[in-house]
């Protein structure tokens, strides 16, 4: 064997020099790619960064991957207007220039929207962005908006939600994960807004909440529902921080 691995974790978790520039990029995931899995997305973004010829930094790990961190995985089938990755650069190139080259090197369906440098010692994106807003569009729903809200109230009153994901049963604590829900009707389509928080238990998937609410009302699960993530934020002592800041001073400074 070659030299032993100094660190057993994933390459992107390796300690990095805090002076490496950290470029945060916001991008969308179009409906067409809603079924692209997270791992495939990660590989795709790495290739986009390589194609954009940014001065990316390579991890020390065996696999020699580009140092990128991603915000939490979208549920399969969901699109988004607000996904994020942080890429470590060896050189602090102009952020607008970087955005331009990234856009030119990325498929339209994952088009980068904004790029700015953020403090190097902020916590990793995935854990840090703990609040999400979602939009659900449900054509052909068996119940109206008010009934749906009632269904969600009932589910929430139960305090907990269990569902099957593949073989495994998932348990979601609604008190901590479900922040808000509202629904309205628009030309025969029920549109719902869901606010979720990353809790100690499994995270709350909007479609799971919808199905639970419908089942509480005794109607069959909805089909043709479109789910879209519309915002990701960081919650800090009751205050919401945007992904690009301004960042609070009380932020801890662990390695990321």
């Amino acid at each position: 064997m070659s030299s032993a691995q100094p660190f057993s974790g994933r390459p992107q978790d390796l300690p990095v020099k805090a002076d490496l520039a950290r470029l945060r990029v916001e991008y969308g995931k179009a409906e067409r790619l809603a079924y692209l899995g997270h791992l495939d997305l990660i590989a795709t973004v790495e290739r986009c960064i390589r194609r954009a010829r940014l001065p990316f930094s390579i991890g020390n790990g065996y696999a020699r991957r580009v140092r990128i961190q991603f915000s939490s995985a979208l549920p399969v089938g969901a699109s988004s207007s607000c996904e994020y990755f942080d890429v470590r650069l060896t050189e602090r190139v102009d952020a607008r220039e970087a955005l331009r080259s990234l856009r030119a090197a990325t498929p339209e369906a994952l088009a980068p929207l904004r790029a700015e440098y953020v403090p190097g010692r902020l916590p990793a994106l995935e854990a840090w962005l703990d609040r999400s807003s979602w939009e659900l569009a449900c054509p052909r729903l068996a119940v109206g908006a008010e009934d749906l809200e009632e269904g969600v109230r009932r589910v929430r009153a139960a305090g907990e939600l269990t569902y099957l994901r593949g073989e495994r049963e998932k348990r979601v604590d609604l008190a901590s994960t479900l922040v808000g829900f509202e629904a309205r009707e628009e030309g025969g389509v029920v549109r719902a807004r869901v606010e979720t928080r990353v809790g100690a238990t499994a995270s709350l998937r909007p479609q799971v909440l919808l199905d639970a609410a419908l089942s509480a009302l005794g109607v069959p699960p909805a089909t043709g529902v479109r789910v879209r993530r519309t915002a990701q934020l960081h919650e800090e002592s009751g205050r919401l921080v945007e992904p690009f800041g301004p960042f609070g001073n009380e932020a801890p400074a662990p390695l990321s």
């Binding site: 070659s2 790619l33 692209l36 390589r50 369906a109 089909t223």
Partner: protein, 964 residues
């Protein structure tokens, strides 16, 4: 097979339906005709002439208008030829008595108005016709719909037969539609449908007044074979009709039966009429015929005297004839057939709702980086790799042709992969046809469709793709406007078993010939040529083989599979030679421009550094068919590779070819590549190592810090046998390579071997074990003996599949039992736990072997296997030898018998007419040298070995430096 799935109850049902049909035919039928003296003369004469009963069971009474009222002697049906006289009362009296009655008039306005109760009114019809010709059709239609004794009517009056047949078919189709609608599993409704179709066939025969023997009903069950064909056609039809799943499925069953009915009707009519002349298929071995339960399977083709055309049990079973006959014989077009090309339109919104319900939905997304999204045509080609996206997307051949065609003005090329089974089932259920990736247009809407024959086992997937697309499976069954179906690729060298599928096969390098073929099709279409003439024109494009212009002859100069010769009167080459791009450096270094979203089997950039290999291993088909050797210059490889990586963003580049380390500039390429990519986190890989010190040196050059496993291919376990196969590697080469590798830091060694090589003895098999032990021993000497040294050897043992255009093409494969015995022998000789042995599945090799050796008459086997559900045969998880065995039995074949048959050295072979340019004499010489254990040197290192490729094709080896 469907017939075997019939239960006893079902068989009874067919038998009793047979006697019902018999009884129906023999019933007495009385037709009464009232003639008004003032009625139009022409009509009266026409009715009189038509109503002459052919059998004793029909009676016709002709009465004047004023006749006694209807009494106990009521007829089965009454006709009134209306004139100026009052007839309302007469008509009314029949209707009230429950007798269907028609008023025959010149124009609908001539019919009197009747005041009748609703039930009685339903029995009254008006048959209006201005001419006698029109009259009979309409009258027959009315009779078929109104009279209970339709079978007897048809048996007696010829003019009724078509209308009664139509009604029977439509009725049976509706029944089948009901069956189709309740069945959820695709294919599971077949047995039921097949019974209904058998009943239909009986009734049709009865309607034609033919002798109906219930025993024959089961024979007729064979129509299900044709039924499947029509189902495929009908699926295409219904896929164009918007609607929901079950309805569509019912539609498929309905359409399929309509078409089957049309075919049966045709056949029955042919029985009644003079026998049709034997079609061009007469010389061919018969298509698969389904034996009835209890009946002995038909004799294998070998049992027949060569050259004697087999008597077709049913012309139906010659699907090509059945499809040709309606047009040739002036019979009205089948209703189940689509004559127009499918519309080019984006159907992604039909596919999208299915994505949530399948595994790996990412397979079905397009718009990848680098794909050509503008597909304006106007000429549209779709390249199909008939396996899932992850397997097909890395294929370099498709990438090359994709770029070539898209670069042409006015031509565009899209891609298509075979959906996995879950998606295919959903698409069938929802009536979504197979779509291209780029524009999500139906495959059936393209001008041309090109299949990559990457290996023999892809055959059933090709059929599956065509069926999903709603395109007829064989060239003969296709309609004028259907896409031209092309094929090409490494396993085109014996394409005969699936030659019936393709309109044309492109042999050899495709980058130029695909453009030529597309241009030819485009121009011929623009000139308004018929499909047959388009194919004739295609046959003039060099390197293009058009199977339908050749016939297969079996005689004493050939094997049982015969040989292909131009059809009389067709101006096509007796031997089609492959195309060869000699100036390889003029082709773009990097062909892969598409960067997939999803992880694929080879997630890296491939760059073809050289084409062809002249080492001359005698089992290797690619080594013969890709000659001559053409190297890409080092500068082009390095600059192309760096540019390609920047453009794609991949973190690995693979320098591919049949033997990359043979490139005369290999060391330079690797060094320069490594230098150019330093610090970018990019790996360079080469697919296979040469079995010598240089090979190890090159492996070290690309491995960086990584020392995974190292793979060598000694192929045979003894020097004697390695000389037989012309693997010019000595014991010392191997030992030195192994020592270098262990010293270089590698711990795991993988060795590839083959068993079943000609002249192989048990000693050679045992030699494999000894060789593995020797390598292990070297590893332990170098690294150390403890378990912790981590030294291990794994050996992978394949079965030789003799391929066309190799010196072993005359050899049969080793019999499966003997394969298993030698595998056991080898296993028993391996005693060290650090040696792992893995075998290729002997059954997979057997099917591969059969597909490699069969001629055109092997197609029914492929088709039957597909019908029985064989798809994705190259996937170990999906391969099911029992289905292949059943398919072979249904076709009167035996897989081992086919795969293991030796051919005489002098026999004309099934693939002789499609040639890579290698001389038959050279191959024979190589075979003799093999048996004598004499090796032949590599012509890129020594002098020309005289294989014939260079003079025949006017090409030469292109070597950039000097090969070591």
């Amino acid at each position: 097979m469907a017939a075997r799935k019939l239960t006893a109850g079902r068989i009874l049902e067919v038998l009793s339906s047979g006697s019902r049909a018999l009884a129906g035919r023999d019933e007495r039928v009385l037709v009464r005709v009232h003639v008004d003296a003032t009625c139009p003369r022409g009509l009266a004469r026409c009715v009189r002439d038509a109503l002459v009963p052919e059998r004793g069971t029909g009676d016709v009474e002709v009465l004047p208008l004023a006749a006694p009222p209807v009494g106990a002697d009521a007829p089965d049906v009454a006709l009134v030829l209306v004139g100026d006289g009052p007839c309302a009362e007469l008509v009314g009296s029949y209707a009230r008595a429950g007798v269907p009655v028609a008023m025959v008039v010149e124009g609908a306005l001539d019919a009197p108005r009747l005041e009748l109760p609703e039930q009685a009114a339903a029995l009254v019809g008006t048959v209006a016709a201005s001419s006698p010709e029109a009259l009979l059709d309409k009258l027959a239609e009315w009779l078929a719909a109104s009279c209970d004794k339709d079978l007897a009517l048809a048996a007696n009056f010829a003019f009724c037969r078509r209308a009664v047949s139509d009604a029977l078919v439509a009725r049976c189709a509706l029944e089948n539609a009901a069956v189709g609608a309740i069945s959820l599993i695709p294919g599971s409704d077949l047995p039921v449908m097949c019974v209904n179709q058998a009943k239909l066939a009986l009734e049709l025969a009865a309607a034609h007044g033919l002798e109906v023997r219930p025993e024959r009903a089961l024979d007729l069950v064979g129509v299900v074979g044709a039924g499947l064909v029509w189902r495929a056609l009908a699926r295409r039809l219904v896929s164009l009709v918007p609607g929901v799943g079950a309805l569509l499925k019912a539609g498929v069953a309905y359409g399929g039966t309509l078409a089957t009915g049309a075919a049966v009707r045709l056949h029955v009519s042919a029985d009644a009429a003079p026998a049709p002349a034997a079609g061009p298929g007469g010389q061919r071995a018969p298509a698969a015929r389904l034996p009835a339960p209890g009946e002995a399977p038909p004799p294998p083709p070998a049992a027949r005297a060569p050259g004697v055309p087999p008597a077709p049990p049913y012309c139906l079973l010659y699907t090509s004839d059945a499809a040709r006959a309606p047009r040739g014989r002036g019979v009205r077009h089948h209703r189940g057939r689509r004559v127009m090309r499918a519309r080019r339109e984006c159907l992604f919104d039909r596919l999208e709702p299915l994505l949530a319900r399948v595994e790996h939905p990412g397979r079905y997304l397009d718009h990848e980086w680098g794909s050509v999204s503008e597909q304006d045509g106007p000429f549209h080609l779709c390249m199909v790799y008939a396996d899932v996206y992850e397997v097909g997307q890395p294929n370099l051949g498709v990438a090359i042709l994709y770029n070539q065609v898209n670069a042409q003005e006015g031509m565009s090329c899209e891609r298509c992969y075979l959906p996995w089974k879950d998606m295919a089932a959903l698409m069938r259920e929802e009536g979504v046809p197979l779509l291209s990736l780029e524009s999500a247009s139906p495959l059936a809407s393209f001008d041309a469709v090109g299949f990559t024959l990457a290996h023999e086992l892809i055959a059933t997937n090709v059929l599956e793709a065509l069926d999903l697309a709603g395109i007829a499976l064989t060239s003969a069954e296709r309609d004028e406007d259907d896409p031209i179906i092309l094929a090409g690729g490494p396993s085109a060298w014996n394409c005969e078993p699936i030659a019936d599928v393709f309109d044309a096969v492109l042999l050899g390098d495709g980058e130029e010939s695909i453009v030529d073929a597309c241009a030819c099709i485009r121009d011929a279409r623009a000139e308004g040529l018929s499909r047959a003439d388009v194919l004739r024109r295609l046959a003039r494009v060099p390197g293009t083989y058009v199977p339908s212009l050749y016939e297969v002859r079996v005689d004493e100069t050939s094997t049982r599979w015969g040989y292909a010769a131009p059809l009389p009167g067709e101006d096509v080459p007796a031997v089609v030679l492959k195309r060869c791009v000699n100036d390889f450096a003029a082709t773009p270094a990097v062909a892969q421009r598409i960067v997939p979203y999803v992880g694929i089997v080879q997630d890296r950039l491939s760059l073809e550094v050289l084409r062809g290999c002249a080492r001359g291993c005698r089992f290797c088909q690619a080594g013969m068919t890709y000659r001559p050797v053409r190297e890409r210059p080092a500068e082009q490889v390095v600059s192309g590779g760096v540019e390609g990586l920047l453009a794609s963003g991949h973190n690995e580049i693979s320098l591919t070819s049949l033997s990359t380390t043979d490139h005369s500039q290999c060391a330079r390429i690797l060094n320069e590549m490594n230098a150019a990519l330093e610090g970018k986190g990019i790996r360079v890989s080469i697919p296979s190592q040469r079995l010598d010190a240089f090979g190890v040196e090159m492996a070290a050059a690309v491995a960086g810090g990584k020392r995974g496993g190292l793979t060598f291919a000694p192929e045979a376990g003894s020097q004697r046998l390695r000389d037989v196969i012309n693997k010019n590697v000595t014991e010392e080469d191997l030992e030195r390579a192994a020592r270098n590798a262990f010293e270089g830091g590698w711990r795991r060694m993988k060795l590839y071997f083959m068993i079943g090589l000609p002249t192989e003895t048990d000693e050679d098999v045992v030699g494999i074990a000894r060789m593995a032990e020797r390598v292990l021993e070297i590893g332990r000497e170098v690294v150390g003996r403890g378990v912790r040294s981590g030294v291990s050897v794994s050996i992978s043992v394949a079965v030789l599949v003799p391929k066309a255009y190799t010196p072993f093409q005359w050899c049969g494969q080793l019999a499966p039992d003997e394969v298993r015995r030698r595998q056991r022998l080898l296993l028993s000789e391996i005693r060290d736990r650090a040696i792992r042995v893995s075998y290729h599945d002997a059954d997979v090799s057997l099917v591969e072997g059969a597909l490699s050796r069969m001629g055109r008459a092997g197609f029914p086997l492929v088709r039957r296997a597909w019908e029985l559900g064989c798809t994705f045969d190259a996937w170990t998880s999906e391969f099911d030898v029992s289905r292949w065995e059943r398919a072979a039995a249904d076709c009167g074949l035996d897989l081992a018998d086919v795969a293991c048959e030796d051919f005489p050295l002098t026999a004309r072979l099934p693939w002789d007419h499609t040639s890579p340019g290698v001389d038959a004499g050279f191959l024979q010489r190589e075979w003799r040298r093999a048996v004598e254990g004499v090796t032949t040197p590599d012509c890129t290192r020594a002098t020309c070995a005289g294989c014939g490729v260079c003079p025949t094709l006017g090409v030469r080896n292109v070597i950039q430096g000097v090969r070591s």
